[in-house]
Subunit: 160 residues, 2 copies
DNA sequence: ATGTTTCCCATCAACTTACTAGGAAATACC
DNA sequence: GGTATTTCCTAGTAAGTTGATGGGAAACAT
């Protein structure tokens, strides 16, 4: 229903990865069990399992089965952007009626509407591709992003 | 499925409004029939009808019934932002698992994830609230927006 | 009156989302 | 070798959303 929707999958995925990030910064090889992540973040276990599998298939997470098994980051948290995570879990960042913004075509007075949607996608990329797991874990977001957060009204919802 | 999705409703709505904008610039009181918009933009008539009704209820469009009836903009196109249109048709711009970004709460290493989602919403607002129907009709987007479009790769999709 | 055009309600198929169930496969420890 | 553990994989499912369509009632011009 909403134009920008962070799905449960993307939200849970980010939270799981931030748990793994915290552990990674202590010891990059340390494995964490799915169950531990699940209880730490209150994520349904079997649902989380599927999310972590997708993240492994995208090369973000590594896993080991069996007793003493678990998950860990497969790349440094400073090399995993939020866009990477969202794309791994939810597919392409932006779509217009199910198509890529650059693929839609307009006639007459709507001729330049495409530019608008491409700009929307570019704005989204500018945020999501420049924030890494390490940035969020350290609460040290890139300057252009903190500038967005300092804008008046950024934390308030628009009227009704 | 996609994080940013411009729905058929929003896309059709924008196109309908741009048709109305073109007419408005000639004569602000001129009415346009739903059927004319429908054929000009290839939008299913009855679907469009519902969209225009929503836009009227939001005070963006005015309408008149009966022979010689139709639709027109109820405000100057330079005073209708794309955010207005999208909110009228699809509700709030951004949500995290169905909630407003400022309402979600995180524990442990995810503590600062909220800032990320709020920044995402702010970035979206910065684009959608500053582009008006008049801007799109005249192909004269605000400078910060054209700057987004000039970034290398803005028009290309990411790898796979 | 009559034709036109918007308004409003109800319905519908296809799809997506957020999960859940059950078991197979790998690994560690005894 | 056997057992317990933990991830991997496939399938299914209830609820909700999306993108429409249909049938008439209400307003308006002639």
């Amino acid at each position: 229903m909403e134009t920008v929707h962070i799905s449960a999958k993307a939200d849970y995925g980010m939270r799981a990865l931030l748990e793994l990030t915290a552990v990674y910064l202590e010891n990059p090889k340390q494995l964490v069990k799915g169950d531990a992540i699940s209880t730490a973040q209150g994520i349904p276990v079997k649902f989380l399992e599927g999310i972590l599998r997708q993240l492994r298939q995208s090369g973000i997470v590594a896993s080991q089965r069996g007793a003493e098994g678990g998950y860990r980051l497969d790349r440094s948290p400073s090399e995993v952007s939020i866009a990477d995570v969202v794309r791994a879990l939810d597919g392409p960042l932006a779509a217009v009626r199910g198509q890529r913004p650059e693929d839609v075509d307009y006639a007459g007075p709507s001729e330049h509407l495409k530019e608008v949607w491409v700009a929307v996608r570019a704005a989204m990329r500018d945020v999501l591709e420049h924030i890494t797991l390490a940035d969020v874990a350290a609460n040290d977001l890139p300057a252009p992003v903190t500038r967005l957060l300092d804008e008046p009204g950024a934390w308030q919802r628009r009227k009704p």
